[in-house]
């Protein structure tokens, strides 16, 4: 038996500040197998970002345990790629150099990394803005830079916090299909937070629906679609409609409970 890629047991996270105490997550138990693609949807403020950060070792659990690839998470994890909700770019570096930060820090081969960065720039339509500083980029372009950065080193686990939120519908669908392809080809384990129900169903092998704060897992929905997906096909598949409306129902009930 191989270890789960991500193993979360009885996770509770409570933020304490001088003012108040906020329980962001409560009693989360969840496994992600290697090569799975789990998407998470849930109301704003329910603790999705917090969950990803706990897995990455950036936020310490108040109680419960988390392990990544069989190792207990005790501090920041580096065998991952993380797309933050905000782009988190270095404002003194151009787009391409922001992407290459990943390679510099991990000591990847320069030529390889440069080639891959150029491919990703092409893929995300950032050509012509390689040297533009973050403040010279539009919101969606900044997000794409952050995306390229997280993909550069082909991590075994990818944690993505609304990576396509600032993109228009078309670009988003294109990049969704690309991400699907990358996932299939590299067998990466991916956990992706999104507000788009369509995206959640399209990308995930499994959709986790979370409740309102304090966040619990309301329901797990297995997405019974072929691994290789295209929007044209998926949208016309009855499974898609069924899952989408079920998720919508769950979110609605969660919202009123």
């Amino acid at each position: 038996m191989t270890a789960a890629a991500i193993d979360i047991t009885g996770l509770v996270v409570t933020f304490r500040s001088k003012r108040a105490q906020t329980t962001a997550l409560t009693e989360i138990t969840m496994q992600v197998e290697p090569g799975e693609f789990v998407t998470i949807v849930g109301p704003s403020g329910c603790g999705k970002s917090t969950l990803l950060k706990v897995v990455a070792g950036l936020v310490r659990p108040t109680s419960g345990t988390v392990s990544l690839m069989g190792q207990q998470v005790n501090g920041p994890q580096k065998e991952i790629g993380f797309v933050f909700q905000r782009a988190a770019l270095l404002e003194w570096r151009g787009a391409r150099k922001n992407i290459l930060l990943q390679a510099e820090i991990r000591g990847l081969d320069r030529a390889d990394a440069a080639r891959r960065a150029d491919q990703l720039i092409e893929l995300t339509g950032l050509q012509g803005f390689e040297n533009a500083l973050p403040h010279e980029l539009s919101g969606g372009m900044q997000q794409r830079v952050a995306l390229c950065r997280a993909l550069l080193h082909q991590p075994r686990v990818l944690l993505m916090d609304e990576p396509f939120g600032a993109l228009d519908a078309l670009t988003r669908e294109q990049l969704n299909e690309e991400l699907n392809r990358i996932w299939r080809e590299t067998a990466t384990t991916i956990v992706l937070v999104t507000h788009s129900i369509a995206e959640a169903v399209f990308l995930g092998t499994r959709v986790e629906v979370m409740s309102q704060r304090p966040g619990r897992l309301l329901r797990t929905l297995d997405v019974d679609l072929p691994k290789e997906r295209r929007y044209a096909q998926v949208m016309s598949d009855p499974t898609f409609d069924r899952l989408a409306s079920e998720i919508r129902g769950l979110l609605g009930s969660g919202a009123n409970h």
């Binding site: 580096k78 905000r86 270095l90």
Partner: protein
């Protein structure tokens, strides 16, 4: 309009206001001196200072270079040591508790009081002047370095942590560039203080340098020489300050404070 003319016009619009200020200061000085509001042996007339400057140009230049050299050495050392201390303090709570009192102590004791000790230990050469310049100049570097290193966006630190960055990498790629705008402010203060430090060092035990010339001029009640000397000191300070400003423009063109157009036009 031809191009050189246009360039001249542009230069004029850029400079006439500071030039006006300079003119006002000069005229005010001249009035004070010429009408002897303050006697001439305390505040000389501009032309007396000018005569001293031109008449003793070689002598003054020789001494200026001595002071300039001490200042530059002192400043560079102060910047390095200050940054080192800032890194230690910003990274380690223990170091903060242990170093801060020492650093503060070094800062608040009047340097003129420890100058005799320095002479005793290091003689009358270059060393005590540089040590004084360092002692006077390094504190602002420490403080602004600490402030800059600590003000890094926590999310960027999270980012570098997930990349498995070593502390040194985090420092070099993230914290340090992020601290630069703060640090440059500290360096600007430091470079002007380094001038003061070198001069104070020369007060205590020297046979050359602008500080020594100042002492002599003071003893001889030679006001034109005193003013010429002060003028050269500030010229050194202002020139070095301008160098740091230029370095800033090169190093942090990305910062909000340096973005063309954006800063202060909207309100």
């Amino acid at each position: 309009m031809t191009s050189p003319l246009r360039r001249l016009a542009a230069a004029t619009t850029n400079t006439w206001r500071p030039a006006l200020v300079l003119a006002v200061v000069l005229v005010a000085w001249w009035v004070v001196a010429a009408r002897q509001v303050v006697p001439n042996y305390l505040v000389p007339r501009p032309e007396q200072v000018w005569q001293t400057l031109t008449g003793q140009w070689d002598f003054l230049m020789r001494n200026s270079f001595v002071t300039l050299w001490e200042t530059i050495l002192g400043f560079v050392l102060a910047a390095l040591i200050g940054l080192g201390a800032a890194v230690l303090i910003a990274y380690s709570k223990t170091m903060e508790r242990a170093l801060y009192p020492i650093v503060l102590f070094a800062q608040v004791i009047p340097k003129i009081a420890i100058a005799p000790l320095l002479i005793v230990w290091f003689g009358f050469g270059l060393t005590p002047k540089i040590i004084l310049a360092v002692l006077i100049a390094f504190f602002p570097v420490v403080i602004s370095g600490v402030a800059g290193l600590r003000s890094t966006d926590p999310e960027l630190l999270d980012l570098s942590a997930t990349m498995g960055a070593s502390p040194w990498q985090t420092f070099r790629k993230i914290r340090f560039p992020n601290a630069l705008p703060h640090l440059m402010a500290g360096l600007k203060v430091a470079v002007t203080l380094a001038v003061v430090g070198a001069v104070v060092g020369e007060f205590v035990g020297a046979t050359e340098g602008l500080g020594y010339v100042l002492l002599v001029a003071n003893g001889n009640l030679d006001a034109p020489m005193l003013f010429a000397d002060l003028f050269l000191m500030s010229a050194i300070g202002i020139a070095l300050f301008a160098v740091i400003e230029a370095a800033e423009a090169l190093l942090i063109p990305w910062h909000a404070s340096r973005r063309a157009g954006t800063p202060l036009t909207t309100s």
